[in-house]
């Protein structure tokens, strides 16, 4: 008999429990103390949490403003040292900031097999959701340029819209895009493995910045 069948047989043979079968998942609103119930509270809480996590938040009015903010953030990075996705978003940002183009490789197509991928200064992505309660960013490999773009470079910049903010994770969990890989990012990478001392940028990005439009 295969390992699979033997394991399943053994489990099935075990005495059934007296407990009732069935479960309920409580809503985040009933579980969590800090659930924000208005749009203003959501935006404010997201900002507060991101700051506590040592992330950066820049509020802008529109895509043009986002382009300016991005140009400032990418400041001294060498030409063609940054990667961004999706191309449509980047096109919008560079319309009034053509100088920004120099920071990026060619036409924003990702050069995935390039050994230089590891040397990129910054990865810029969109997001699918922003979670207010935890100050988190949700993105996927299908919608944010793959798995590595948001984790390999030392700086990760997210271009997002205020309308993408949800109060808590349960609002987003049933609406996730179809992708092989979805990640919930809560602050820059960190570790306390050495005598509980907090260090940022363990393996993932040391800097996480969100440019929030609207």
């Amino acid at each position: 008999m295969s390992g699979r069948n033997e394991i399943l047989k053994k489990l099935r043979r075990a005495v059934p429990a007296e407990k009732a079968i069935g479960y309920s998942v409580p809503s985040d609103e009933t579980v969590f103390a800090d659930y924000p119930d208005t749009k203003e509270k959501m935006k404010a809480l997201f900002a507060e949490r991101l700051k506590q996590l040592h992330g950066e938040l820049i509020n802008v009015r529109d895509e043009a403003g986002a382009g300016e903010a991005l140009e400032q953030l990418l400041g001294n990075f060498p030409d063609q040292s940054c990667l961004a996705y999706p191309p449509e978003l980047m096109e919008k940002l560079t319309v009034s900031n053509p100088g920004l183009m120099n920071r990026f490789t060619g036409d924003f197509n990702l050069d995935l097999d390039s050994p230089a991928f590891a040397q990129f200064s910054a990865g810029i992505t969109n997001a699918d959701f922003l979670v207010a309660r935890s100050g988190s960013i949700i993105l996927t490999a299908a919608t944010a340029g793959g798995r590595r773009l948001s984790v390999l470079p030392p700086v990760h910049i997210v271009i997002a819209y205020a309308g993408q903010i949800v109060p808590s994770l349960d609002s987003a969990i049933n609406k996730l895009p179809d992708s092989s890989y979805i990640t919930i990012i809560t602050g820059p990478s960190r570790t306390s493995d050495i005598e509980k001392k907090l260090v940022l940028g363990a393996h993932g990005p040391k800097r996480l910045a969100v440019i929030l439009i609207g």
């Binding site: 390992g3 075990a14 407990k19 479960y23 590891a118 969990i173 393996h203 993932g204």
Partner: protein, 459 residues
């Protein structure tokens, strides 16, 4: 030397080591206040969150075979390949087959207690391949040639100075007292390993049955890199790790983070639905999942012990345990230490060899009080003790000694008789009194309460 004797010896050494104790207490106290503060600030009612979590995990256990099949079906439909391993040996075999199939030479892995359980690193090295631990704590113990000290914080027993020395010796980095510099040294050392590894291995914090997914939680980003860069991703997970659907995550992710590290939620929580799919620019071409039994179905079959499979491996019981705090993780000599380890190890491995861990507890129940999924840990330790006795696994002297004790205490007249003849001082009694206790027997007054009461009442 038996496990029991070596445990006694090691625990005695550690108990005497004040330096070790102070190190642990320092690590534990800041951690404790952080965890307690987060329970209060994040949850409206931590106690009811525990009850909810217990209920969901109980549902999983009562439906385990069906949910496992559902998980396998869903994730296979998206291109993953699932193996079922009854034993450590089978898991190792599956893994090596995968390595051979892909002509692998280099393996990078993130922190996973199941990989420790199946001795994955030893397996990889015996097969002539190289393995890199990417989690900082695991990397530290790997370089030091040690086993993890704690299931969540593997290097908590090492000081900054010790780590600096270790890195200087093994990586050639300059000596420093900066945790940041040491972390950056680890980061650059591993960068190349991510890019050039043939296989990335992770465990799974949760398996999702309903949608077919693997959940990985971490702070460093090393697990994300491990499952993003190499062309093959292998997951090794215990069969009990299931949750019914993604909907349970908004409760379980904060629950795990709060209990384990006092964080609201860990830095990166990743949901893997399969290997890279069409239209995605990168990601592993192949995803293999090895589901591990290795004694879990035995725990499952036992009605009393099934609840121990609710465990989400948060480490809270280790942190709360005053025995763990005194002797540290290495003394247990098991993959899983602390209260949960003491409960499950005699079922995953022979009872006779590991039952002593269940006796190495004062039953203070701190573990039970902190478990986020309400496992009645201290009661299960008592159950193990009873089972050890039924299995004739407890020592001969104890059996005879306690039979005599029950005889003596079985009636007042017998008790008075033995007290009068000073039983505790009798030479043939001496071997029954444990060595450590012989010097600590308190002064026995000349009269017992019972002797004194009648004369007291008359006055």
């Amino acid at each position: 030397m038996s496990n029991y004797s070596s445990f006694i010896r090691r625990s005695e050494e550690k108990a005497e080591d004040r330096g070790h104790l102070l190190k642990i207490l320092k690590a534990v106290s800041t951690h404790d206040s952080k965890v307690e503060a987060m329970k209060v600030s994040q949850f409206r009612d931590w106690a009811s969150a525990r009850v909810q979590a217990e209920g969901i995990k109980n549902h999983v256990l009562e439906n385990l075979p069906e949910l496992l099949e559902q998980f396998e079906e869903k994730i296979s439909a998206r291109g993953a390949e699932v193996f079922w391993a009854r034993t450590t040996g089978e898991a190792q075999t599956h893994f090596l087959d995968i390595c051979r199939q892909h002509n692998a030479h280099k393996v990078i892995k993130s922190k996973s207690m199941t990989t420790e359980e199946i001795l994955l690193n030893e397996t990889i090295e015996s097969a002539g391949m190289k393995v890199w631990e990417s989690d900082l704590g695991e990397m530290i113990v790997q370089l030091a040639g040690e086993k993890p000290y704690h299931i969540v914080t593997p290097a908590m027993h090492k000081s900054t100075a010790e780590i600096s020395e270790l890195f200087h010796e093994k990586l050639g980095t300059p000596m420093t007292d900066s945790a940041e510099e040491l972390t950056m040294a680890a980061r650059s050392y591993l960068r190349d390993a991510y890019i050039t590894a043939d296989i990335g291995v992770t465990g799974a914090n949760f398996l999702i049955a309903g949608e077919g997914a693997i959940i990985l939680t971490e702070n460093e980003g090393n697990a994300r890199l491990t499952m993003s860069c190499p062309p093959v991703h292998v997951v090794i997970a215990g069969i009990e790790k299931l949750l019914p659907s993604l909907e349970a995550l908004p409760l379980f992710l904060p629950l795990l983070a709060t209990s384990g590290t006092g964080q609201q939620i860990t830095c990166y929580n990743s949901i893997i639905r399969g290997p890279r799919q069409a239209g995605e620019p990168d990601g592993p071409e192949k995803l293999y999942i090895i589901l591990l039994d290795n004694g879990r179905s035995d725990l499952y079959s036992s009605r009393r012990f099934r609840e121990s499979l609710r465990c989400i491996r948060c480490g809270a019981c280790l942190n709360a345990c005053p025995v763990y705090r005194t002797i540290g993780g290495h003394t247990y000599q098991t993959t899983y230490q602390g209260p949960i380890g003491s409960v499950i190890t005699p079922h995953l491995k022979p009872m006779k060899e590991w039952q002593h861990l269940s006796f190495a507890s004062s039953l203070c129940a701190a573990c039970t009080s902190v478990c986020p999924v309400k496992i009645d840990l201290h009661t299960l330790l008592l159950e193990n003790r009873s089972e050890a006795y039924s299995d004739h696994a407890t020592g001969f002297l104890w059996r005879v000694g306690l039979k005599f004790w029950a005889y003596m205490f079985g009636s007042r007249s017998r008790l008075n008789f033995f007290r009068t003849i000073g039983w505790i001082k009798l030479p043939f009694i001496r071997p029954f009194i444990p060595r450590g206790l012989r010097k600590r027997i308190p002064v026995i007054p000349s009269k017992s309460f019972s002797n004194l009461w009648s004369s007291h009442e008359r006055s």
